[in-house]
């Protein structure tokens, strides 16, 4: 089975998210970059599905040339091919991102077998628009369900997702798409042979002039932090009476 996994290069913030001087972007000079947690699970699932059913995993990223780092990480996890859709450093609006992915899918599958399954993360770890997967699926005419935490492939696709009062099961005909959530699996750490293979692998680069979407980011800001100063209750085991006083005060004990 041919599987496409879409991943995004996102900053890996620690305890603070620093902003650039003009507040237009996150200041990434001192931050590492990563694949979002949901997407890492998508790569892992694709590699496992191909191990069981045969076929190939293609990973695709839309972004700056540096997104090569994230594609190579996915290759090191076991993906077979990498595709970079180069759109420059500016953040794209979700309509533009979806257009870039849909066009790249047409380019990559021209003269090659079509994808049986297209996987996305449920939302990107930074912008969190929650819609790129659905837009791509609509463009490609594929059925899609989001929030997926269980995938089984048989004649079709069985997808499970958690909802506030339990779980929902969907059965889709293939080809299909799914947007997955962390918890679907526990992604592997790439091993040494995987890393070596990924370092040498050649990536396919596709240029794309993004259209202007209707949602334009103006600036970013930190949410107001109006919490009062922390009340220190003490050190070690000796703090226990003060802790239980607070529990009583809050009415939780």
């Amino acid at each position: 089975m041919e599987i496409l996994v879409c991943v995004k290069r996102v900053p890996a913030p620690g305890a603070k998210v620093p902003l650039s001087a003009d507040s237009r972007e996150i200041d990434t000079r001192h931050l590492g970059f990563t694949i979002g947690p949901h997407e890492e699970c998508a790569v892992e699932e694709a590699v496992r599905l191909v191990a069981g059913h045969g076929g190939q995993v293609t990973v695709l990223a839309v972004g700056p040339p540096e997104a090569e780092e994230q594609l190579r990480y996915a290759l090191a996890m076991g993906a077979d091919r990498g595709v970079l859709v180069e759109t420059g450093p500016a953040e794209l609006d979700p309509e533009a991102t979806a257009a870039a992915i849909a066009q790249a899918v047409h380019t990559v599958t021209d003269g090659a077998p079509p994808f049986d399954l297209v996987l996305f993360g449920d939302s990107s770890a930074d912008a969190g628009h929650y819609q790129v997967g659905i837009r791509v699926a609509a463009e490609l005419g594929l059925p899609i369900v989001g929030g997926i935490k269980g995938i089984e492939v048989g004649d079709g696709l069985r997808l499970r997702r958690e909802v506030p009062d339990g779980a929902e099961l969907y059965e889709l005909p293939l080809p299909a798409a799914a947007a997955v959530r962390e918890g679907l699996n526990l992604p592997r750490y790439p091993n040494l042979p995987g890393r070596l293979r990924a370092r040498k692998a050649s990536l396919r680069t596709i240029a794309f002039e993004p259209p202007v979407g209707g949602l334009r980011k103006l600036r970013l800001r930190q949410p107001a932090d109006d919490r009062a100063e922390t009340v220190l209750l003490g050190q070690g085991a000796a703090a226990a009476p003060a802790v239980v006083d607070v529990l009583e005060e809050l009415g939780v004990v």
Partner: protein, 324 residues
């Protein structure tokens, strides 16, 4: 006119509050099935809804009725909404930023070829709209411009306080029958299973949550014990899930569950933004950490500096001593 999407049996107060703030007549839309007994249930729901909507200043409820709208079918719900939008040409459509609200709006946006702004916390009307949306679960706020013939947006959970809407005498029901291709029902819920019940992260009044500082899967025993004493649930950070100490269903944070208990006890959790956005709505936070400089300690309501495995057993003993 501005449409608000109703998902379920009640209008979402934060969606109606934001809708009324935009100085446009507010109408509502609900998907219902025309199929058999479910259709009668739908009429009951609509009847109850119109009373509630009239109180909240909504004078029209559009019922999108079709046999393919039985149960839940995301593609069909989205396509049907897109058709209603093309028919009514509202200035905007607002929905709750829940999983389903967002999913239906994204399907509608994709099919209507319109932009969609998700998780908005504030909107200034006009053209374009100026809006503020939450990114990364509220890690950052983004100010953006939305330019579109019909503005589509979802409202972040808990974004606006309920408004005192001017009640109207009655809410009229208008039916809309979309043209849906049978293949749209290919994405449909085929089976539903109920949750385990009992105390969950979403409902627990107290959550005792552990991170790297707990040290091992076995280390959670004392957290379990404290949670049981307080009638609460055990949560964890992403580190704990990635180490295989706890199941992902226990994870609090951006990629886990967003919680809002009366008290969140963060044990050995440093407080990376990915975790913080999941627990920031807690009424009070108690941090237990060996590192006085940990971000969780700085942001918590109360803190104890010390090792989880010294502090928690002492707290458990103190509770037992006072209750005996």
């Amino acid at each position: 006119m501005l449409l608000t999407l109703i998902d379920g049996q009640e209008p979402a107060p934060n969606v109606l509050a934001l809708a009324h703030s935009l100085d446009l007549p507010v109408e509502a839309v609900l998907h219902v099935t025309s199929d058999g007994a479910d259709a009668d249930d739908a009429d009951d729901v609509a009847g109850h809804l119109t009373d509630e909507l009239a109180k909240q200043g909504v004078a029209t409820l559009h019922l999108i009725r079709h046999e393919l709208l039985a149960g839940y079918a995301p593609e069909a719900f989205g396509e049907a909404l897109a058709q209603l939008v093309a028919h009514l040409r509202p200035a905007a459509v607002l929905a709750a930023g829940t999983d389903r609200g967002t999913e239906i709006m994204a399907h509608a946006a994709a099919r209507a070829r319109l932009p969609l702004a998700t998780n908005c916390v504030a909107v200034t009307g006009g053209d374009p709209w100026l809006l503020t949306r939450a990114r990364g679960g509220g890690m950052l706020l983004e100010e953006a411009e939305l330019t579109a013939p019909v503005k589509l947006a979802t409202v972040a959970q808990g974004a606006a306080a309920p408004a005192d809407a001017q009640a109207v005498d009655n809410c009229a029901v208008r039916e809309f029958v979309p043209e849906l291709l049978p293949e749209l029902a290919r994405t449909r819920v085929v089976e539903r299973t109920a949750g385990r019940g009992g105390i969950t992260l979403a409902t627990a009044p107290v959550i005792v949550s552990g991170g790297r500082g707990v040290g091992s899967a076995e280390g959670y025993a004392v957290l379990e014990e404290l949670a049981a004493l307080l009638g609460g649930a055990v949560g964890c950070s992403r580190v704990a899930t990635n180490n295989g100490w706890r199941p992902h269903s226990d994870q609090v944070g951006l990629t886990g569950t967003k919680v809002a208990p009366d008290l969140y006890i963060a044990c050995g959790i440093s407080g990376a933004t990915q975790h913080w956005v999941g627990c920031t709505d807690s009424k009070a936070i108690l941090a237990v950490n060996t590192d006085p400089e940990a971000p969780m300690v700085a942001r918590a309501t109360y803190a104890v500096i010390g090792d989880v495995h010294e502090v928690l057993p002492a707290v458990v003993a103190e509770i037992r001593a006072r209750s005996s």
